[in-house]
Symmetry: C2
């Protein structure tokens, strides 16, 4: 049974353990600072397929299969898989997962999907609907670029605020078990839209959603950033991460990149040498950083209390072309090595 705390947050009453996880990336990820943390890095970003969309599907399936294998599970051990991605009609997930035969909860949260899927999976376990759930998402630079921006061959220029869609996938397996780390709390976000229209500045569009969800979580739980070892946002990048700190400052919440706050979009690539401008983005960014780096560091007790806030920009090329602003959402997961209900 999940217990509501404050107005917006849910505290898990069961020990919802992250029993397995896996991260998959490709060439650019293999050249970044987290390369050594990934389970699988395939320099061939086609993953053996004949289209970028199929490549992303295959990569997502590989991430799920690796997480199953690392936990000594098979598909039959998983009650539900919560999944989604950025492609139109979420075809990375539907085609990637169709052979697995797992009951399918399709989600759409754009780049917030990793936190959303973990949140929904946790509620399923809390309700006893599921014993064990998988959560997965992915993004692929080449499928995203041609869907959202330009054909790859066009070689469009990118402004400094633009981010680089990660070719990566992350998958976790959750179950009720006395084995840290645990999903301790979830704060699902509301849709926020402060009127940003620049599709090359997703960080600015998403920062208000992250600020709102964090503010609510701190208020609901009567905690401050100092209560956590690290706070990770999803893919706000350089611009959005800075804006988030400024927005929270207005409410006297001190979040600082010099202390215990960073963004997954600033971790995956080297911003000085990898030509990614404001950082990494895409569902696969926060998912792969979580599964390659954050969760392993929790397992090693280098980190014990972590907030993971994935943010999603809820627009499409159609809405952008129609002059609409960019609504966004941020879902928060509190992960801890200690559990006391």
């Amino acid at each position: 049974m999940a217990v509501k705390q404050g107005k917006h947050s849910l505290i898990m009453q069961k020990p919802i353990s992250v029993v397995s996880y896996a991260a998959v990336g490709s060439k650019k990820e293999s050249e970044g600072p987290l390369a050594n943390n990934f389970d699988i890095l395939n320099a061939d970003s086609t993953f053996g397929e004949d289209s970028w969309e199929k490549a992303e599907s295959t990569m997502q399936k590989i991430a799920v299969k690796k997480a199953l294998e690392k936990g000594s599970y098979t598909e039959k051990d998983i009650d539900y898989i919560c999944a989604g991605d950025l492609l139109n009609q979420c075809i990375s997930s539907t085609y990637g997962l169709r052979d697995l035969g797992i009951q399918f909860i399709g989600l759409y949260g754009a780049c917030s999907t990793m936190a959303e899927s973990i949140g929904v999976a946790s509620i399923f376990i809390e309700s006893s609907a599921a014993k064990r759930c998988a959560a997965v998402t992915s993004s692929h630079f080449c499928s995203a670029e041609r869907q959202f921006r330009f054909p790859l061959e066009y070689g469009g220029q990118r402004p400094p605020t633009a981010q680089w869609t990660a070719t990566a996938s992350g998958s976790v397996i959750l179950e009720e078990k006395n084995e840290p780390p645990y999903i301790r709390a979830v704060t699902f976000g509301t849709i926020e839209d402060l009127g940003i229209k620049d599709a090359n500045n997703m960080g600015a569009a998403m920062a208000p959603a992250a600020a709102m969800t964090l503010k609510r979580f701190f208020k609901d739980t009567k905690t401050t950033p100092d209560n956590y070892d690290m706070i990770f946002t999803g893919d706000l990048g350089k611009v959005g991460a800075q804006l988030l700190c400024e927005l929270l400052q207005r409410d006297n919440i001190k979040l600082s990149q010099d202390k215990n706050y960073t963004d997954c979009g600033l971790m995956l690539y080297d911003l000085n040498t990898q030509d990614v401008h404001a950082g990494a983005s895409g569902c696969g960014c926060s998912a792969s950083v979580l599964c390659s780096t954050i969760l392993p560091q929790m397992k090693e007790k280098k980190l014990n209390d972590v907030l993971f806030i994935a943010t999603g920009a809820l627009m499409s090329t159609t809405s952008a072309q129609q002059g609409e602003s960019i609504p966004s959402v941020a879902h928060l997961i509190y992960i801890s090595n200690s559990f006391n209900s």
Copy 2:
């Protein structure tokens, strides 16, 4: 606490009451056999907006607001809204619902979304994460047609197996309350794909998913079609509904359109006079039939035990152009006027 029954089904232990619902349609729906059952029918399918996508967003918001109003609720009374739609990146939902300030669970299940959203909302209430949830989805002929098929102005010919995307939305409000009808059980589907590639024959692509989910539910609950007053599939249309009966016959499950089975896609329009070929389709089809006709008939005790199985085709134009077959999923909701945990 949801109790698993058999391998795939969940029995609700709380009285999850459908406390309010509303259906919105447009001109073609106002000319169909269910016209009198709708809450709102707007002959202007732009809903006052300057694009079809914005029209769909507005229609979806109207459906939610109407369901709130009929139940004497405001947005503040709703803990979570579970929503999704057919448009790329689900912009009907994200733009339609952004002003409501309700914590947002974005879903993608194509035309299975109404059953998926009710299922997820029910689990949220079972887990005590939510006291009260909304579920909503929509489709719009004009936004779907130009996204999935041809520009409206092109006036493409449609084969007899094609269906007509409903311009409609349905929304329900669920809460724990001793007031029938109740969501008694949910069977979430797995992704099924028997290799159908004809995007003009969605019924054939989706029938196997409906058959699989129904088969599992009957097995899990040790019931047969005779145990229910009516069984409604989502939008299989004429071709898919017939195929479903044939598929189930192989397992000796007798489902018959001459008895207690029909499809929402066969109810919304008059197939003889409204030129819709094999029937209605789209997320809004089953959602609006549920909220305009099925739930009111349950309230009036004309129906007491109903299975509602919404089916979704999980493809995109990209996957179709790449020669892929059409995976599909079907989620089942058992709605009953009686509750005994």
